[in-house]
Amino acid sequence: MNRAFSGKGFKVLVTVVCLLLVLALVTAGNSTVGGLFSGFILTPLQRVAAEATGSAGQVVTLPKDPQELEEENSRLREENRRLTDELVEYYDIKRENEELYKFYDIKKSNEDFSVVPASVIARDPNEIFYGFVLDAGTADGVSPGDPVVTDNGLVGFVSEVSIKTAKVTCLLSPEVRVGAVDKKTGDEGVISGSPLYADSGSTVLENLKERHSIKVGDIIVTSGYGGAYPRNLKIGTVSKLLSDSYTGTPIAVIRPFEDARFVSSAAIITNFTGKGVIESSSPELPQTSGRSAG
């Protein structure tokens, strides 16, 4: 055992270990020595071998010292954060652009409309008729009673408004009273929501004449009578023809073109030709505690 700790070999070992410790200490804080060793001896070996096996493109990267890696890591993290922010902003702008384009179409086809685009910012879970809150208010020229539309058609009306927000009551709510007309037959009625159909996303056309000609599949639009809604705003199609279970009068179940349950953005029509003008030919529409028929 003596020879193991006193021989020439042991002295060589101790010397070598000391030298290597110095090398380790030097390369721990500075990659130059290790980099030189790798760069001049190891990497060429690896590169030649990698090229020989046809995988030069995958050659192992040069070892980096921890400080360099840390700096690179933090730089990449910062860049990643910046790019993520930009991406989020890009998606916001893209979505906003798409929405504005939809409303541009509405505006283009109805030049008399003053339109305020807005996004849905809240939905009250207690609101069983799927009302929602838009991020536009009196500051944007919105006032109570203004119709709310999407590119698919009428959604509802502004029932409450604050400086920056507007609460929308949608077509599924019984509070809504919208004068409507069958585009094909000219039969008139009033759109009003019903608890029976709200969950399925449908509303009801009531106050129909006993002898109407409405058929399933007919398109229903706003009549414009009463001055609350513009004429010819698309509402939906007739999906069923029934009789009211209480009064026995005919009603039509309407499937709105826009499903108010899933609206994410909408436009508020703050002004249009004929707003507030009650036409003499308007049908006898009952006044309700909610919205007067348009």
């Binding site: 070992l13 290597l20 410790l21």
Partner: protein, 169 residues
């Protein structure tokens, strides 16, 4: 150094270079259960079996530097541990233990895990990385076993070189 020694050391050196290239070649992964072997470790250990202390240390350092160069981080860990390993193996085999595959495997069973676990402790645990033990069981453990399993191959090869050159001399 006579011609026989020169041939022997050249053969060992070529083995070192070849193993280094093989273990670091990207298109030639010898991966088994998530682990890749450190070929240089059993190689220098089995070289030391047939060499006296100083040549054993030299090959230990050379193999260690190559192994260090293949990893990121400060150089020296493998060079130091492999120099010590080769020295100890050389002394043991020369003075205390009869050289055979079994005894070399037994020495490797103790020494290789020590060296490789030490590397794991220095370069993973001490660096404060997360999930180190998951990494250990997923990669390091299989690497240790895989490296250890390479001992017979290198033992046979280096025994052949050592015996052949001894006969010639």
């Amino acid at each position: 150094m006579n011609r026989i020694h020169f041939i022997k050391y050249t053969a060992f050196s070529l083995e070192l270079v070849l193993c280094f290239v093989l273990q670091s070649l990207p298109g030639f992964r010898l991966e088994v259960f998530g682990g890749t072997p450190v070929l240089l470790l059993p190689l220098v250990m089995t070289i030391a079996v047939y060499e006296r202390e100083i040549p054993a240390i030299v090959f230990g350092v050379a193999g260690g530097l190559l192994a260090d160069g293949g990893y990121s981080g400060p150089m020296g860990y493998y060079a130091i541990t492999m120099a010590i390993l080769c020295y100890v193996v050389s002394i043991l085999m020369e003075q205390y233990i009869r050289t055979s595959l079994l005894t070399v495997m037994l020495v490797g069973t103790v020494s290789l895990p020590l060296v490789m676990f030490g590397q794991f402790v220095f370069f993973y645990v001490a660096m404060g990385y997360g999930n180190v033990w998951e990494y250990f069981f997923a990669h390091i453990l299989s690497r240790i076993v895989y490296t250890w399993a390479m001992i017979p191959l290198f033992y046979a090869l280096n025994r052949f070189i050592a015996v052949k050159t001894q006969q010639d001399s």
